[in-house]
Every structure is written in C-alpha cells, then in structure tokens.
C-alpha cells in the first residue's frame, strides 16, 4: 500500500493502481471520456489530466495512466488543470457541437461555447469501441483508419467486416453515442460514423422472438465450446 495526497486528502492505495482509479474509489471526480475499466488505459482524451508534485517537480499527467507513488501530491482541479480542460472541451465542442454528452460535460467544466469553427461530428476518436472490440470481444472487427485529422473509426476499407459478430459492444461503450444499433424484425442494424452493417437475428424456438445476432451466438458456442443447440431458446425460454 502507498499513501498519497489527493486534493489535500490523505488516501491509501494499492501499488500499481492509477491515480484515476484511486480518485474514483475515494469519490473524487476526475472527468474522462476515453477510459473504461473493461479496457487498458489509453490516454487519448487528456481530460483526466491532474497536477502531480514529486519532490520539487510539478507537472501535468494523464491520471488514467499514471500509477500512484508513495508521497505523491495530486491536485485534480488546479487552475492549470482546469484551464487545460476548458480548452480541450472547447476543441471537442467545436468538433461535436450537437452532441448532448459533450455539451453536458463542457457545461460541467465551465464551457458553454467554443472559439473555433463548428464541425458536425459525433465521434471523438477515443478508440473505446476499437479497444473493446479487440480486448474484450476479441475480434478486432473495427479499427482507427488513417492518421491525424483524417483519422476515422471504421471497418477495414469501409467494407462489411467478415469478423464482426454484431454484438454491439462498440455502441454500448461509446461515450458520445456516435455508434448506434437497432433491432428491427429479424435484423440488427449497427451504424458507425462512416459505415454500417446488418446482422440476421436468431429466432427463439419456443417464443419465436428474434433475440440475438446469429453470428454472435455462433462465436460464443465456438469460443466456450457449447453444444450447437445451446442457444436455440432465448434466455427467457431456457430451463
């Protein structure tokens, strides 16, 4: 265990934990858009910046990546931190001016307008979808395409992916709602910012409702070695 100070409060933490994790455990708010406990920290949104002092050296670090140390002094909302966050929110607000989640977070951080020309995007390229697809689902059907300002989230060559199982984890984990999915009749529609795909849903043998993508069920059967008929019934109709 190590002892550190966050915003004047002495807290104990496990070695190897990140500042963000420790702050969350202690109900200290640090904003973030690209972190999720299901995947490895990435450090892209930079909103979780905090000021750390070690010895005489003061600097800003991404709290999602920085591991706690004995005697570390952390300020989660110093003026330097706050002004950087405000500028980051101005940049995000210019990119996604019509996104409710971004508007709300900007407002919470004291930003209600942006100095920059407006675009109309929903995706902030945090890669949570991509990382979840790779690290949690294990299929890597989507990735970040291109570099710099031309970067986008998509399937390879913007074509329907052979490996996507239609599970919708990407939509679930997206912090801005830039990815959506909808089940209509026997079909699931997933919409990414640049392209989309359709998936056939499996019909429950008992109640007849369409309840999950066939590809996803096949994937699970194969992965955990279940009987081929394991998903013939939906969860409600299973014994």
């Amino acid at each position: 265990m190590v002892t550190l100070t966050i915003d004047g409060r002495k807290v104990q933490a496990e070695e190897g934990a990140t500042i963000l994790e420790v702050a969350e455990d202690n109900n200290i708010y640090i904003p973030t858009l690209c972190s999720n406990e299901a995947v490895k920290p990435y450090g892209a949104c930079r909103l979780c910046l905090v000021e750390v002092t070690r010895g005489k050296r003061e600097r800003l670090v991404a709290s999602c990546l920085y591991e706690v140390e004995e005697g570390l002094v952390v300020k989660t909302n110093s003026e330097r931190v706050a002004s950087n966050r405000r500028m980051l929110m101005e940049l995000l607000l210019a990119r996604c001016p019509n996104n409710k989640k971004i508007q709300d977070l900007a407002h919470r951080l004291g930003v209600d307008g942006t100095s920059f020309e407006l675009e109309d995007k929903q995706c902030i390229l945090c890669a949570l979808c991509v990382r979840t697809c790779a690290e949690v689902v294990g299929v890597s059907a989507i990735s970040l395409v291109g570099r710099g300002t031309g970067r986008a989230m998509a399937t390879p060559f913007y074509e329907p992916s052979d490996v996507c199982i239609g599970c919708g984890s990407c939509a679930y984990v997206c912090p801005t709602g830039a990815i959506s999915f909808e089940d209509v009749g026997d079909t699931r529609y997933i919409k990414w910012p640049k392209n989309g795909m359709e998936f056939k849903l499996k019909k429950c043998k008992t109640c007849g409702r369409y309840w999950a993508p066939e590809k996803q069920l096949d994937y699970i059967i194969k992965k955990v070695n279940l009987a081929p008929d394991a998903f013939d019934n939906c969860p409600d109709c299973r014994d």
């Binding site: 990546l65 980051l88 940049l91 390229l125 970040l144 570099r147």
Partner: protein, 623 residues
Amino acid sequence: MEKEQIVNRLNSPDELEALRESIVKSRDPKQRCIVICGGTGCLALGAQKVITAFRREIEKGGLESKLALRITGCPGFCERGPLVVVKPENILYQQVKSEDVTEIVSATVKGNIVDRLLYVDPNTGKKVTHEPEVPFYEKQKRLLLGDNSNIDPTMIEDYLALGGYAALSKVLFEMSPEGVIKEVKKSGLRGRGGGGFPTAAKWESCRQAPGDTRYIICNCDEGDPGAFMDRSLMEGNPHSVLEGMLIGAYAIGGHEGYIYVRNEYPLAVKNAEIAVKQAEEYGLLGKNILGSGFDFAVKISRGGGAFVCGESTALMASLEGKVGEPRAKYVHTVEKGLWEQPTNLNNVETWANVPLIIKNGADWYAKIGTDGSKGTKIFSLVGKINNTGLVEVPMGITLREIIYDIGGGIPDGKKFKAVQTGGPSGGCIPESMLDLPVDFDELDRVGSMMGSGGMIVMDENSCMVDIARYFINFLEGESCGKCIPCREGLKRMSQILTRITEGKGKDGDIDLLERLSATLIDSSLCALGSTAPNPVLTTLRYFRDEYEAHIKDKRCPAGVCKELVTYLIDEEKCPGCGLCVKACPVEAITSMGKKKPVVLDQEKCIKCGACYDVCNLDAVIRK
C-alpha cells in the same frame, strides 16, 4: 570495386591490429585517388553520370594503377555538387559534369590542375585550390563527417584502415561496462536526436533496469523537412554508427540491436545492410566478437515514413509491427521499451560520437564545446543561404559564424530575417540573436531547440506568419491523431494561421493562438504535440508586429501572402517592353503598344508575382 574476397574471422584484438596493418601497408599514401561524393545530394545533381564517366575514362586509358577511384558519402558542401576531390593533394573540383571528366583525368595524371573547376570565393573573388581552404570548411570541426571523404562506405577495410573498431576492441578487452559508462559520462555527451538527454545516464538506467533482454536501438528515422545529418552519416560512415552501438551494447548489457531507418533513405538502408554483413563476416558483429565472449546482433528495420515514428515509443511500436503511435512515458523506455523490455534508443549521430570518445578519451572530448554541451554538432544548413550543406561545428559557435562565415550569408544581397532551428517544432530566432552561442541550453532559452539539427535560414522575403502556418500544417499532417490536443489543436491552429494569412484574421486570434499553445504544451501525449507550438510562439515573440500587420492592417509586410498583396504598374517607369506580358500565366497584363505602359487587370491577376520578378526596371509595384 566489387571483388570476391575470402574474409577471415577475427578472433582477437591482435588479429584485428594485424589486419589493419596489412590493409594500411597494402595502400600507397602517395597514390592519386579521385574521390567522388556519391551521397544522395550529389547523386541528385548528377553524380552517377560523373562516376560512370570516370570509370570509363580510367579504363579507356588503362590508368587503373595510376589513378584510384573512391565513391564516398557526403562531405557536406552540397551547394556545389557534384563534388570531386583529388587526393592526396585535396584538390577540390566543384559542380563537375561528365563532360569535365576527360580533362580532369588527363590533368591529374600529369600533376596539373583544372583551373576552371575550382571554387571561387565570392567574397574575395579568389580561386581556392585545396578543399580545407574553402571558407565553408575552414571554420568547421569535422570529427564525424571528416572521414566521409576517406571511406568508401561499402568497404569495411577503409574504416579499418582509419583505426575503425579499435575503440570496440579497447572496451571489450580493457574496460568494464561500468568503466565505459563512466567514460561517456565524463565526456558530457548528450543525445543528438532532439532532447539532449545525457547519454551515459540513459545507458546507466537501462543497464540497471530489471529484465532479461536489453534492446539497443539506433534511431535513423530522420523526418524533419530539410534535415539530412543522420542520412549522411548512415550513408557515408555506417561502421562508425555500428561501432558506437556495439560499445553501447557492451556497456548496457544488450545483445540485440535494431537500426530503424526510413525507407525513403534507400542508400542509407543499402549501406547499413552492407556494413552489417561485412562486420558479421569479420566477426565484429554476431557471436563471440573478437573472441571476447560478447555477442551482439543487429537487424535493420525500415520505417514506413511517418514523422511520428521518430518519437521513441512510436518507433518501438512500429518495430513491434503495431501502428506507430506514441504512448505515455511515465514508465521510461529504458525500463519498459521494445516488447516491454529495457531498451536504450539513441540517434545516429549520438552513436557515431561514441567511438571517438573511447578512442581519444573523455577529457579530449569534454574540451570541445560549452559547459553544458560537449563535442560537435552537425547541422543541415538550408533555405536562403549561399552555401547549402551539412556543417559540423563545435558546440558554442555563434549562429552568425554558421550563417555568414560557413554559410556564406544570404543570396542576392538580401537581408537576413530569421533562422529556424530544431526542425518543424523548433523556433525562429531573429537577427538580434545572431551572436547566440549554439548549444542545447541556449537554444532552449530563446524558445527554440537543438532538435536533431535542422537549420533553415529565412531572408527579408519570408513572411513569419506564413512560415508558422507552413510548419503547423506540416505537423498537423504528421500528427498521429491519438490525443485530442494535438489532433484537434493543430487543426485549429492551422485554421487560424491560414485565415490570418488570407487577411481574415480577427481581433483575439493572437490570444487564441497563445491559449491553444499552452494547452498543447501542457496536455499533449507526446513531444510532437507538446513542442508543436514552438514555431507559433517564437514568431509571436520576435515578430509579433507581422501578425498585427496581417490582422489589423490587412497587410503582409514581406509581400508573401497573396490575398494581402496587390501588384500595380508604375506608369512612369514602365516602357512597355512586354517582359511581364510574356511572364504572366493568366494573361492579366495587356501590351498597349511600344513605349506605352502595360495595363494590369486586377480581376484576372492571381498575384503570383511573376511580373514583379521579371521586371528589371522596378515598374511593377508590390503593395
């Protein structure tokens, strides 16, 4: 000089020395040798034709025994290429064409000089016969580049003849790894790749880091516009880099190394590959080097051309076969780098310095340079400068000496305006600071940086806002896009700078640029983003009036920004000669007959400035 040769593996320091002696003995120091620069710069200027012509001429005359031919790397004076030097006299012929070859060969055989191909010092009008007396070379201290003319980089024997691999032999048999680190520490060597981090401290941390395998990397992913120091070292003297890596590997305890070189440097890739193969054949790389029991293998990995891959963590990701994106360095790469193992990465020039330090001693090395920056530094001097080329100078030399004494000043009698050091994320230094001693700390202090050593000179016709826009555009294009401040921030900076240069700048734009800069510096994930504001901040610091002229007066003082410039015909001066009529690409100028001033149609004018450039009578006014 392709010949089949059976190479005997060297199994001891004595065998290395014996080989060296036999190479030196077999060579006549008085033998005339035609040295031709085969570096990328001279090749681009037609050196291959010159090389072919020399080969043919020597063969035709049966002169093989009288005249040797050596194709080397870059000696630095690219402005005057293709370069030919006759040794041992060191007679320099410049801007040589294949048509000149017959004359050079016949004169050289007779011991004569081809007067018309000598360099003429533009300041004195005098011809200079010998290479070291050319002012461009006189003030340089060419510890690293000096050997380029004496080495055919495809022949390890040339490097051995000059004492090559003696430093390696010395560390393997006479020094402990700790002793090597101590010596490098005493020399004061700092990393030449940009950061200027003390080399020995990095080696020591890597040596002490827990882990099974330690990797040694040479960063030859030189991507700064206008910079070619590392390329020229790797092309011209690859064994000096390999020897440095070997010594570092021994000191750190590493047995596997990589040279990461950009694929756009085909000659550097080729020469590095040849060097590795030859060193392996002699037992200077691989298992049980020189019979010492020390193993070290080097692989060459070609980069795909992303600027960001010069950043150490992005480079390592690329080596691992992943997308070249940086990661946070809270855990240093010396502890967890390539494949999560302790990894020591140094730049080409840093590695090339190491054998010199071991060979001549840290005390000798530490005498060169300033208190905080030791040794020499290679700069690529480009832009509005008379002598474009590579210059190697002792740390602490002033910018004025580099630009005027070595670089020969600004072409066409124009006025110096600024010099940009440190690559695209360096800063622009104004005339008032020309006497600044050039070292790591002084450049940092004025808001610029050493970077890897690019030096771009600008004259009075450069618009500093436009320059800042150019570099920010470059960085925007090279940002990997991972973190928001760099990706979104550079896009916005670029938009603001573009609108200022288009005359659409607003009140508050300067303030916005400064606020954006602060966030990029503070919050970017890697150094590409955190140093990117430098060109904006230094031009704001030293040329703020130019920004204000663009924004408030809608005027570009340098006359560069098209939207802010108007071309007019001075009717009293214009004799209607029609030169501008022919030069105009859009037929915006109409001839009204002889001795009558021409008429310029502002509606059609695209403000290219062709009329302004072509008029000898100052009859075209730029406003």
